[in-house]
Symmetry: C2
Amino acid sequence: MTKQELVENIFRKQSFLCVGLDTDLKKVPQHLLNEEDPIFAFNKAIIDATAPYCVAYKPNLAFYECFGLKGWMAFEKTINYIKENYPDQFIIADAKRGDIGNTSAMYARCFFDETGVDSLTVAPYMGEDSVTPFLQYEGKWVILLALTSNKGSHDFQLTESTEGERLFEKVLRVSQQWANDEQMMYVVGATQGRLFEDIRKIVPNHFLLVPGVGAQGGSLEEVCKYGMTKDCGLLVNSSRGIIYADTTERFAEVAGEKARELQQQMAACLQTIG
Amino acid sequence: MTKQELVENIFRKQSFLCVGLDTDLKKVPQHLLNEEDPIFAFNKAIIDATAPYCVAYKPNLAFYECFGLKGWMAFEKTINYIKENYPDQFIIADAKRGDIGNTSAMYARCFFDETGVDSLTVAPYMGEDSVTPFLQYEGKWVILLALTSNKGSHDFQLTESTEGERLFEKVLRVSQQWANDEQMMYVVGATQGRLFEDIRKIVPNHFLLVPGVGAQGGSLEEVCKYGMTKDCGLLVNSSRGIIYADTTERFAEVAGEKARELQQQMAACLQTIG
Protein backbone atom coordinates (compact mmCIF):
# COMPACT_ATOMS: atom_id res chain seq x y z
CA MET A 1 0.00 0.00 0.00
CA THR A 2 1.31 3.49 -0.83
CA LYS A 3 1.36 6.38 1.61
CA GLN A 4 -1.23 8.19 -0.49
CA GLU A 5 -3.61 5.21 -0.36
CA LEU A 6 -3.21 4.99 3.40
CA VAL A 7 -3.92 8.69 3.84
CA GLU A 8 -7.01 8.40 1.61
CA ASN A 9 -8.30 5.48 3.68
CA ILE A 10 -7.81 7.45 6.88
CA PHE A 11 -9.78 10.49 5.69
CA ARG A 12 -12.49 8.40 4.03
CA LYS A 13 -13.07 6.27 7.11
CA GLN A 14 -12.33 9.13 9.53
CA SER A 15 -10.12 6.80 11.50
CA PHE A 16 -6.45 6.14 12.08
CA LEU A 17 -7.11 3.17 14.31
CA CYS A 18 -4.98 0.05 14.14
CA VAL A 19 -6.42 -3.01 15.91
CA GLY A 20 -3.77 -5.18 17.53
CA LEU A 21 -4.48 -8.87 17.09
CA ASP A 22 -2.55 -10.12 20.14
CA THR A 23 -4.70 -13.19 20.42
CA ASP A 24 -4.03 -15.17 23.58
CA LEU A 25 -5.81 -18.52 23.93
CA LYS A 26 -5.93 -17.95 27.68
CA LYS A 27 -8.11 -14.88 27.13
CA VAL A 28 -10.45 -15.83 24.30
CA PRO A 29 -14.05 -16.67 25.21
CA GLN A 30 -14.48 -20.26 26.39
CA HIS A 31 -16.97 -21.25 23.70
CA LEU A 32 -14.37 -20.65 20.96
CA LEU A 33 -12.05 -23.29 22.35
CA ASN A 34 -14.24 -25.94 20.73
CA GLU A 35 -13.55 -24.51 17.27
CA GLU A 36 -11.04 -26.29 15.05
CA ASP A 37 -8.82 -23.17 15.02
CA PRO A 38 -9.84 -21.00 18.00
CA ILE A 39 -7.25 -18.28 17.30
CA PHE A 40 -8.49 -17.78 13.75
CA ALA A 41 -12.15 -18.01 14.81
CA PHE A 42 -11.52 -15.25 17.35
CA ASN A 43 -9.61 -13.08 14.88
CA LYS A 44 -12.22 -13.50 12.16
CA ALA A 45 -15.03 -12.36 14.48
CA ILE A 46 -12.95 -9.42 15.76
CA ILE A 47 -12.01 -8.37 12.22
CA ASP A 48 -15.59 -8.52 10.92
CA ALA A 49 -16.78 -6.42 13.85
CA THR A 50 -14.01 -3.78 13.77
CA ALA A 51 -13.17 -3.39 10.07
CA PRO A 52 -15.56 -0.44 9.50
CA TYR A 53 -13.80 1.54 12.23
CA CYS A 54 -10.10 0.90 11.59
CA VAL A 55 -7.57 1.21 8.78
CA ALA A 56 -4.98 -1.30 9.94
CA TYR A 57 -4.49 -4.62 11.73
CA LYS A 58 -1.40 -5.55 13.66
CA PRO A 59 -0.96 -9.18 14.66
CA ASN A 60 1.96 -9.56 17.07
CA LEU A 61 3.95 -12.61 16.03
CA ALA A 62 4.76 -13.66 19.60
CA PHE A 63 1.15 -14.63 20.15
CA TYR A 64 1.20 -16.95 17.13
CA GLU A 65 4.69 -18.41 17.35
CA CYS A 66 3.84 -19.39 20.89
CA PHE A 67 1.58 -22.11 19.50
CA GLY A 68 4.10 -23.46 17.01
CA LEU A 69 2.62 -24.94 13.86
CA LYS A 70 -0.97 -24.20 14.86
CA GLY A 71 -0.06 -20.62 15.60
CA TRP A 72 1.61 -20.08 12.24
CA MET A 73 -1.39 -21.57 10.49
CA ALA A 74 -3.71 -19.20 12.37
CA PHE A 75 -1.43 -16.26 11.49
CA GLU A 76 -1.43 -17.09 7.78
CA LYS A 77 -5.19 -17.66 7.73
CA THR A 78 -5.72 -14.33 9.47
CA ILE A 79 -3.59 -12.44 6.95
CA ASN A 80 -5.34 -14.12 4.02
CA TYR A 81 -8.75 -13.39 5.50
CA ILE A 82 -7.98 -9.68 5.82
CA LYS A 83 -6.49 -9.45 2.34
CA GLU A 84 -9.43 -11.22 0.70
CA ASN A 85 -12.24 -9.51 2.57
CA TYR A 86 -10.87 -6.10 3.56
CA PRO A 87 -8.20 -5.22 0.98
CA ASP A 88 -8.15 -1.59 2.13
CA GLN A 89 -6.67 -2.58 5.50
CA PHE A 90 -2.94 -1.98 6.07
CA ILE A 91 -1.41 -5.10 7.64
CA ILE A 92 1.47 -4.81 10.09
CA ALA A 93 3.38 -7.90 11.18
CA ASP A 94 4.59 -6.82 14.61
CA ALA A 95 7.68 -8.97 14.79
CA LYS A 96 10.46 -6.58 15.85
CA ARG A 97 12.99 -8.45 13.73
CA GLY A 98 16.48 -7.34 12.74
CA ASP A 99 19.65 -9.36 12.15
CA ILE A 100 22.78 -9.34 9.97
CA GLY A 101 22.16 -8.68 6.28
CA ASN A 102 21.72 -12.19 4.91
CA THR A 103 19.43 -13.11 7.82
CA SER A 104 17.28 -10.00 7.58
CA ALA A 105 16.93 -10.84 3.90
CA MET A 106 15.45 -14.20 4.92
CA TYR A 107 12.99 -12.51 7.29
CA ALA A 108 12.03 -10.08 4.53
CA ARG A 109 11.37 -12.98 2.16
CA CYS A 110 9.31 -14.69 4.86
CA PHE A 111 7.06 -11.77 5.62
CA PHE A 112 6.83 -9.91 2.33
CA ASP A 113 6.95 -12.78 -0.17
CA GLU A 114 5.34 -15.61 1.77
CA THR A 115 2.75 -14.00 4.05
CA GLY A 116 2.16 -10.84 2.02
CA VAL A 117 1.81 -8.33 4.87
CA ASP A 118 2.29 -4.62 4.08
CA SER A 119 4.84 -3.86 6.77
CA LEU A 120 7.02 -5.24 9.48
CA THR A 121 8.28 -3.75 12.73
CA VAL A 122 12.08 -3.82 12.91
CA ALA A 123 14.51 -3.19 15.79
CA PRO A 124 17.30 -0.68 15.01
CA TYR A 125 20.08 -1.88 17.35
CA MET A 126 22.08 -3.68 14.63
CA GLY A 127 22.07 -0.70 12.26
CA GLU A 128 21.80 -0.10 8.54
CA ASP A 129 22.54 -3.50 7.00
CA SER A 130 20.03 -5.14 9.38
CA VAL A 131 17.25 -2.86 8.10
CA THR A 132 17.91 -2.24 4.41
CA PRO A 133 17.09 -5.81 3.23
CA PHE A 134 13.47 -5.09 4.22
CA LEU A 135 13.45 -2.04 1.94
CA GLN A 136 13.96 -3.99 -1.29
CA TYR A 137 10.23 -4.71 -1.69
CA GLU A 138 8.16 -2.15 -3.56
CA GLY A 139 5.05 -1.02 -1.70
CA LYS A 140 6.25 -2.63 1.54
CA TRP A 141 7.15 -0.72 4.68
CA VAL A 142 9.63 -0.91 7.53
CA ILE A 143 8.30 0.34 10.86
CA LEU A 144 11.41 1.02 12.92
CA LEU A 145 11.38 1.09 16.73
CA ALA A 146 12.25 4.60 17.85
CA LEU A 147 10.75 5.38 21.26
CA THR A 148 8.68 2.53 22.61
CA SER A 149 5.76 2.63 25.05
CA ASN A 150 7.21 0.51 27.84
CA LYS A 151 9.05 1.47 31.02
CA GLY A 152 12.28 -0.05 29.67
CA SER A 153 12.28 2.53 26.87
CA HIS A 154 14.09 4.76 29.37
CA ASP A 155 17.00 2.35 29.79
CA PHE A 156 18.74 3.01 26.48
CA GLN A 157 16.49 4.98 24.11
CA LEU A 158 16.82 8.21 26.11
CA THR A 159 20.60 7.96 26.51
CA GLU A 160 22.11 11.31 25.57
CA SER A 161 25.09 11.15 23.23
CA THR A 162 28.09 13.41 23.04
CA GLU A 163 26.70 14.48 19.64
CA GLY A 164 23.90 16.20 21.61
CA GLU A 165 21.02 13.91 20.80
CA ARG A 166 19.25 11.04 22.52
CA LEU A 167 19.48 7.53 21.07
CA PHE A 168 15.91 7.56 19.69
CA GLU A 169 16.69 10.88 18.00
CA LYS A 170 19.81 9.42 16.43
CA VAL A 171 17.78 6.45 15.19
CA LEU A 172 15.27 8.83 13.59
CA ARG A 173 17.98 10.99 12.04
CA VAL A 174 20.30 8.29 10.73
CA SER A 175 17.58 5.98 9.42
CA GLN A 176 16.26 8.71 7.13
CA GLN A 177 19.32 8.03 5.00
CA TRP A 178 18.00 4.52 4.38
CA ALA A 179 14.46 5.28 3.20
CA ASN A 180 12.01 8.14 2.95
CA ASP A 181 8.51 8.57 4.36
CA GLU A 182 7.01 6.48 1.57
CA GLN A 183 8.62 3.33 2.94
CA MET A 184 9.51 3.96 6.56
CA MET A 185 7.43 4.60 9.65
CA TYR A 186 8.48 4.74 13.30
CA VAL A 187 7.13 3.21 16.49
CA VAL A 188 6.55 5.87 19.15
CA GLY A 189 4.67 4.95 22.33
CA ALA A 190 1.56 6.90 23.29
CA THR A 191 2.97 7.03 26.80
CA GLN A 192 5.74 9.40 25.68
CA GLY A 193 3.55 12.54 25.78
CA ARG A 194 5.36 15.72 24.84
CA LEU A 195 8.35 13.88 23.41
CA PHE A 196 6.19 13.71 20.27
CA GLU A 197 7.10 17.38 19.75
CA ASP A 198 10.80 16.52 19.70
CA ILE A 199 10.11 13.63 17.33
CA ARG A 200 8.18 15.81 14.88
CA LYS A 201 11.18 18.17 14.67
CA ILE A 202 13.19 15.30 13.16
CA VAL A 203 10.50 13.44 11.19
CA PRO A 204 7.86 16.04 10.32
CA ASN A 205 6.20 13.94 7.62
CA HIS A 206 6.65 10.29 8.56
CA PHE A 207 3.83 8.13 9.78
CA LEU A 208 4.18 7.03 13.40
CA LEU A 209 2.78 3.75 14.67
CA VAL A 210 1.61 4.53 18.19
CA PRO A 211 0.99 1.70 20.66
CA GLY A 212 0.19 2.28 24.30
CA VAL A 213 -3.26 3.90 24.22
CA GLY A 214 -5.56 1.97 26.56
CA ALA A 215 -4.09 -0.79 28.76
CA GLN A 216 -0.69 0.93 28.85
CA GLY A 217 -2.14 4.33 29.83
CA GLY A 218 -1.30 6.61 26.87
CA SER A 219 -3.64 9.48 25.92
CA LEU A 220 -5.11 9.80 22.43
CA GLU A 221 -5.62 13.55 22.90
CA GLU A 222 -1.94 14.13 23.72
CA VAL A 223 -0.79 11.98 20.82
CA CYS A 224 -2.96 13.98 18.39
CA LYS A 225 -2.00 17.33 19.90
CA TYR A 226 1.73 16.76 19.66
CA GLY A 227 2.07 14.14 16.92
CA MET A 228 -0.46 14.79 14.17
CA THR A 229 0.59 16.11 10.75
CA LYS A 230 -1.42 17.65 7.92
CA ASP A 231 -2.06 14.20 6.45
CA CYS A 232 -2.63 12.68 9.89
CA GLY A 233 0.70 10.87 10.13
CA LEU A 234 -0.53 8.57 12.88
CA LEU A 235 -1.64 4.98 13.20
CA VAL A 236 -2.79 4.56 16.78
CA ASN A 237 -2.94 0.98 17.96
CA SER A 238 -5.21 -0.55 20.55
CA SER A 239 -5.04 -4.25 21.33
CA ARG A 240 -6.26 -5.38 24.73
CA GLY A 241 -8.66 -2.44 25.12
CA ILE A 242 -10.61 -3.67 22.09
CA ILE A 243 -10.17 -7.38 21.66
CA TYR A 244 -10.60 -8.33 25.33
CA ALA A 245 -13.17 -5.67 26.26
CA ASP A 246 -15.67 -8.48 26.75
CA THR A 247 -15.07 -12.19 27.26
CA THR A 248 -18.59 -13.55 26.76
CA GLU A 249 -20.30 -14.57 23.54
CA ARG A 250 -20.76 -10.85 22.88
CA PHE A 251 -16.97 -10.29 22.62
CA ALA A 252 -16.97 -9.33 18.95
CA GLU A 253 -19.94 -6.97 19.27
CA VAL A 254 -18.30 -5.19 22.22
CA ALA A 255 -14.97 -5.05 20.39
CA GLY A 256 -16.81 -3.34 17.53
CA GLU A 257 -18.32 -0.82 19.96
CA LYS A 258 -14.92 -0.06 21.52
CA ALA A 259 -13.40 0.39 18.07
CA ARG A 260 -16.25 2.71 17.09
CA GLU A 261 -15.72 4.81 20.23
CA LEU A 262 -12.07 5.28 19.35
CA GLN A 263 -12.96 5.99 15.71
CA GLN A 264 -15.30 8.76 16.82
CA GLN A 265 -12.63 10.35 19.00
CA MET A 266 -10.28 10.08 16.03
CA ALA A 267 -12.81 11.71 13.69
CA ALA A 268 -12.89 14.67 16.08
CA CYS A 269 -9.06 14.85 16.01
CA LEU A 270 -9.09 14.75 12.21
CA GLN A 271 -11.51 17.72 12.15
CA THR A 272 -8.74 19.88 13.60
CA ILE A 273 -6.61 19.40 10.47
CA GLY A 274 -9.53 19.84 8.08
CA MET B 1 22.10 -26.32 31.24
CA THR B 2 24.11 -24.67 34.03
CA LYS B 3 27.26 -22.64 33.47
CA GLN B 4 29.29 -25.32 35.24
CA GLU B 5 27.97 -28.04 32.92
CA LEU B 6 28.79 -25.93 29.89
CA VAL B 7 32.33 -25.28 31.11
CA GLU B 8 32.82 -29.01 31.80
CA ASN B 9 31.64 -29.87 28.29
CA ILE B 10 34.07 -27.36 26.83
CA PHE B 11 37.10 -28.74 28.64
CA ARG B 12 36.12 -32.37 28.11
CA LYS B 13 35.59 -31.92 24.37
CA GLN B 14 38.38 -29.35 24.05
CA SER B 15 36.05 -27.21 22.02
CA PHE B 16 34.00 -24.06 22.38
CA LEU B 17 32.55 -24.34 18.89
CA CYS B 18 28.93 -23.52 18.19
CA VAL B 19 27.63 -24.69 14.81
CA GLY B 20 25.12 -22.29 13.27
CA LEU B 21 22.25 -24.12 11.59
CA ASP B 22 21.29 -21.38 9.12
CA THR B 23 19.84 -23.87 6.70
CA ASP B 24 18.88 -22.33 3.38
CA LEU B 25 17.05 -24.55 0.90
CA LYS B 26 18.76 -22.67 -1.91
CA LYS B 27 22.12 -23.88 -0.66
CA VAL B 28 21.53 -27.47 0.44
CA PRO B 29 22.78 -30.24 -1.86
CA GLN B 30 20.42 -31.03 -4.71
CA HIS B 31 19.88 -34.66 -3.78
CA LEU B 32 18.30 -33.67 -0.43
CA LEU B 33 15.48 -31.80 -2.14
CA ASN B 34 13.80 -35.16 -2.81
CA GLU B 35 13.56 -35.86 0.92
CA GLU B 36 10.23 -35.35 2.67
CA ASP B 37 11.79 -32.68 4.91
CA PRO B 38 14.99 -31.47 3.22
CA ILE B 39 15.81 -28.93 5.95
CA PHE B 40 15.68 -31.53 8.69
CA ALA B 41 17.51 -34.10 6.57
CA PHE B 42 20.30 -31.59 6.02
CA ASN B 43 20.44 -30.62 9.71
CA LYS B 44 20.45 -34.23 10.90
CA ALA B 45 23.40 -35.09 8.67
CA ILE B 46 25.29 -31.95 9.73
CA ILE B 47 24.61 -32.60 13.43
CA ASP B 48 25.72 -36.24 13.26
CA ALA B 49 28.94 -35.21 11.52
CA THR B 50 29.83 -32.24 13.75
CA ALA B 51 28.58 -33.24 17.24
CA PRO B 52 31.93 -34.68 18.38
CA TYR B 53 33.64 -31.34 17.67
CA CYS B 54 31.20 -28.76 19.05
CA VAL B 55 29.40 -27.95 22.30
CA ALA B 56 26.49 -25.94 20.95
CA TYR B 57 24.08 -25.58 18.03
CA LYS B 58 22.49 -22.34 16.97
CA PRO B 59 19.58 -22.48 14.53
CA ASN B 60 18.69 -18.99 13.31
CA LEU B 61 14.92 -18.68 13.30
CA ALA B 62 14.81 -16.58 10.14
CA PHE B 63 15.84 -19.57 8.08
CA TYR B 64 12.94 -21.64 9.42
CA GLU B 65 10.17 -19.03 9.63
CA CYS B 66 10.89 -18.28 6.00
CA PHE B 67 9.24 -21.58 5.09
CA GLY B 68 6.17 -21.08 7.26
CA LEU B 69 4.65 -24.26 8.63
CA LYS B 70 7.23 -26.54 7.03
CA GLY B 71 10.01 -24.40 8.48
CA TRP B 72 8.60 -24.55 12.00
CA MET B 73 8.21 -28.29 11.75
CA ALA B 74 11.85 -28.63 10.63
CA PHE B 75 12.94 -26.38 13.50
CA GLU B 76 11.10 -28.42 16.12
CA LYS B 77 12.33 -31.71 14.70
CA THR B 78 15.89 -30.38 14.73
CA ILE B 79 15.67 -29.32 18.39
CA ASN B 80 14.16 -32.66 19.39
CA TYR B 81 16.80 -34.56 17.46
CA ILE B 82 19.62 -32.76 19.25
CA LYS B 83 18.03 -33.16 22.68
CA GLU B 84 17.41 -36.88 22.20
CA ASN B 85 20.70 -37.81 20.63
CA TYR B 86 23.20 -35.24 21.92
CA PRO B 87 21.89 -34.05 25.28
CA ASP B 88 25.22 -32.44 26.15
CA GLN B 89 24.80 -29.85 23.40
CA PHE B 90 23.75 -26.33 24.40
CA ILE B 91 20.96 -25.14 22.10
CA ILE B 92 20.64 -21.49 21.14
CA ALA B 93 17.54 -20.23 19.36
CA ASP B 94 18.96 -17.27 17.48
CA ALA B 95 15.81 -15.20 17.27
CA LYS B 96 16.85 -11.71 18.46
CA ARG B 97 13.46 -11.17 20.06
CA GLY B 98 12.43 -8.47 22.53
CA ASP B 99 9.11 -6.69 23.03
CA ILE B 100 7.00 -5.15 25.80
CA GLY B 101 6.67 -7.29 28.93
CA ASN B 102 3.52 -9.30 28.18
CA THR B 103 4.75 -10.01 24.64
CA SER B 104 8.25 -11.04 25.68
CA ALA B 105 6.54 -13.38 28.15
CA MET B 106 4.77 -15.02 25.20
CA TYR B 107 8.05 -15.44 23.33
CA ALA B 108 9.64 -16.92 26.45
CA ARG B 109 6.79 -19.41 26.77
CA CYS B 110 7.17 -20.27 23.09
CA PHE B 111 10.88 -20.96 23.16
CA PHE B 112 11.47 -22.24 26.69
CA ASP B 113 8.25 -24.16 27.34
CA GLU B 114 7.28 -25.32 23.88
CA THR B 115 10.52 -25.90 21.99
CA GLY B 116 12.76 -26.51 24.99
CA VAL B 117 15.91 -24.73 23.80
CA ASP B 118 18.52 -23.69 26.40
CA SER B 119 18.81 -20.07 25.39
CA LEU B 120 17.51 -17.31 23.19
CA THR B 121 19.20 -14.27 21.67
CA VAL B 122 17.44 -11.05 22.71
CA ALA B 123 17.76 -7.45 21.45
CA PRO B 124 18.30 -4.85 24.20
CA TYR B 125 16.77 -1.74 22.60
CA MET B 126 13.49 -1.90 24.56
CA GLY B 127 15.21 -2.23 27.94
CA GLU B 128 14.66 -4.13 31.17
CA ASP B 129 11.01 -5.20 30.99
CA SER B 130 11.56 -6.55 27.47
CA VAL B 131 14.33 -8.84 28.73
CA THR B 132 13.37 -9.95 32.25
CA PRO B 133 10.42 -12.18 31.20
CA PHE B 134 12.99 -14.49 29.59
CA LEU B 135 14.82 -14.79 32.93
CA GLN B 136 11.95 -16.48 34.76
CA TYR B 137 12.93 -19.95 33.55
CA GLU B 138 15.43 -21.87 35.66
CA GLY B 139 18.38 -23.23 33.73
CA LYS B 140 17.53 -21.10 30.68
CA TRP B 141 19.69 -18.30 29.34
CA VAL B 142 19.29 -14.91 27.72
CA ILE B 143 21.98 -14.03 25.20
CA LEU B 144 21.77 -10.27 24.85
CA LEU B 145 23.04 -8.42 21.78
CA ALA B 146 25.89 -6.18 22.85
CA LEU B 147 28.33 -5.54 19.99
CA THR B 148 27.34 -7.38 16.85
CA SER B 149 29.54 -8.59 14.01
CA ASN B 150 28.00 -6.62 11.15
CA LYS B 151 28.95 -3.27 9.62
CA GLY B 152 25.78 -1.68 10.99
CA SER B 153 27.04 -2.32 14.54
CA HIS B 154 28.86 1.00 14.14
CA ASP B 155 25.64 2.96 13.56
CA PHE B 156 24.32 2.96 17.13
CA GLN B 157 26.23 0.50 19.30
CA LEU B 158 29.40 2.61 19.34
CA THR B 159 27.57 5.88 20.10
CA GLU B 160 29.35 7.60 22.97
CA SER B 161 27.11 8.86 25.75
CA THR B 162 27.54 11.89 27.96
CA GLU B 163 27.99 9.38 30.80
CA GLY B 164 31.33 8.49 29.16
CA GLU B 165 30.50 5.07 27.77
CA ARG B 166 29.49 3.67 24.42
CA LEU B 167 26.02 2.19 23.97
CA PHE B 168 27.24 -1.43 23.96
CA GLU B 169 29.11 -0.71 27.21
CA LYS B 170 25.95 0.70 28.77
CA VAL B 171 24.03 -2.40 27.67
CA LEU B 172 26.68 -4.60 29.33
CA ARG B 173 26.72 -2.53 32.51
CA VAL B 174 22.99 -1.98 33.00
CA SER B 175 21.91 -5.50 32.09
CA GLN B 176 24.07 -6.97 34.85
CA GLN B 177 21.42 -5.66 37.22
CA TRP B 178 18.92 -8.02 35.59
CA ALA B 179 20.80 -11.33 35.82
CA ASN B 180 24.24 -12.69 36.63
CA ASP B 181 26.66 -14.77 34.58
CA GLU B 182 24.71 -17.96 35.35
CA GLN B 183 21.81 -16.81 33.21
CA MET B 184 23.07 -14.14 30.85
CA MET B 185 25.55 -14.18 27.98
CA TYR B 186 26.32 -11.48 25.43
CA VAL B 187 26.68 -11.46 21.65
CA VAL B 188 30.00 -9.92 20.62
CA GLY B 189 31.10 -10.18 16.99
CA ALA B 190 34.47 -11.74 16.18
CA THR B 191 35.04 -8.83 13.82
CA GLN B 192 35.38 -6.42 16.76
CA GLY B 193 39.03 -7.33 17.52
CA ARG B 194 40.53 -5.39 20.40
CA LEU B 195 37.17 -4.14 21.63
CA PHE B 196 37.03 -7.52 23.42
CA GLU B 197 39.48 -6.00 25.91
CA ASP B 198 37.03 -3.20 26.72
CA ILE B 199 34.22 -5.73 27.01
CA ARG B 200 36.14 -7.92 29.44
CA LYS B 201 36.64 -4.89 31.71
CA ILE B 202 32.86 -4.75 32.18
CA VAL B 203 31.93 -8.45 32.03
CA PRO B 204 35.03 -10.34 33.18
CA ASN B 205 33.19 -13.62 33.82
CA HIS B 206 30.26 -13.79 31.41
CA PHE B 207 30.17 -16.12 28.47
CA LEU B 208 30.24 -14.37 25.11
CA LEU B 209 28.56 -15.81 22.02
CA VAL B 210 30.87 -14.84 19.18
CA PRO B 211 29.61 -14.94 15.60
CA GLY B 212 31.61 -13.65 12.68
CA VAL B 213 34.51 -16.10 12.42
CA GLY B 214 34.72 -17.41 8.85
CA ALA B 215 32.45 -15.88 6.20
CA GLN B 216 32.35 -12.53 8.03
CA GLY B 217 36.14 -12.33 8.44
CA GLY B 218 36.71 -12.44 12.22
CA SER B 219 39.86 -14.05 13.63
CA LEU B 220 39.70 -16.89 16.17
CA GLU B 221 43.18 -16.05 17.46
CA GLU B 222 42.23 -12.45 18.24
CA VAL B 223 38.99 -13.50 19.92
CA CYS B 224 40.89 -15.92 22.19
CA LYS B 225 43.69 -13.47 22.88
CA TYR B 226 41.40 -10.65 23.99
CA GLY B 227 38.22 -12.43 25.06
CA MET B 228 39.06 -15.71 26.80
CA THR B 229 38.57 -16.12 30.57
CA LYS B 230 39.89 -18.76 32.98
CA ASP B 231 36.85 -20.96 32.29
CA CYS B 232 36.96 -20.16 28.55
CA GLY B 233 33.97 -17.79 28.54
CA LEU B 234 33.53 -18.08 24.78
CA LEU B 235 31.17 -19.85 22.42
CA VAL B 236 32.50 -19.18 18.94
CA ASN B 237 29.96 -19.71 16.19
CA SER B 238 30.57 -20.74 12.62
CA SER B 239 27.67 -21.25 10.24
CA ARG B 240 28.38 -20.90 6.53
CA GLY B 241 32.07 -21.88 6.90
CA ILE B 242 30.99 -25.32 8.13
CA ILE B 243 27.57 -26.20 6.81
CA TYR B 244 28.13 -25.02 3.23
CA ALA B 245 31.82 -25.97 2.96
CA ASP B 246 30.80 -28.58 0.39
CA THR B 247 27.62 -28.85 -1.66
CA THR B 248 27.98 -32.39 -3.04
CA GLU B 249 26.89 -35.67 -1.45
CA ARG B 250 29.98 -35.33 0.75
CA PHE B 251 28.61 -32.16 2.43
CA ALA B 252 28.25 -33.69 5.90
CA GLU B 253 31.66 -35.34 5.86
CA VAL B 254 33.31 -32.05 4.83
CA ALA B 255 31.30 -30.15 7.47
CA GLY B 256 32.67 -32.59 10.05
CA GLU B 257 36.22 -31.96 8.80
CA LYS B 258 35.78 -28.19 8.99
CA ALA B 259 34.35 -28.46 12.51
CA ARG B 260 37.27 -30.67 13.54
CA GLU B 261 39.77 -28.13 12.16
CA LEU B 262 38.19 -25.40 14.27
CA GLN B 263 38.04 -27.73 17.29
CA GLN B 264 41.76 -28.36 17.00
CA GLN B 265 42.53 -24.64 16.85
CA MET B 266 40.29 -24.21 19.88
CA ALA B 267 42.06 -27.00 21.78
CA ALA B 268 45.31 -25.09 21.25
CA CYS B 269 43.67 -21.91 22.60
CA LEU B 270 42.39 -23.81 25.66
CA GLN B 271 45.95 -25.01 26.38
CA THR B 272 46.93 -21.44 27.13
CA ILE B 273 44.54 -21.33 30.11
CA GLY B 274 45.54 -24.80 31.32
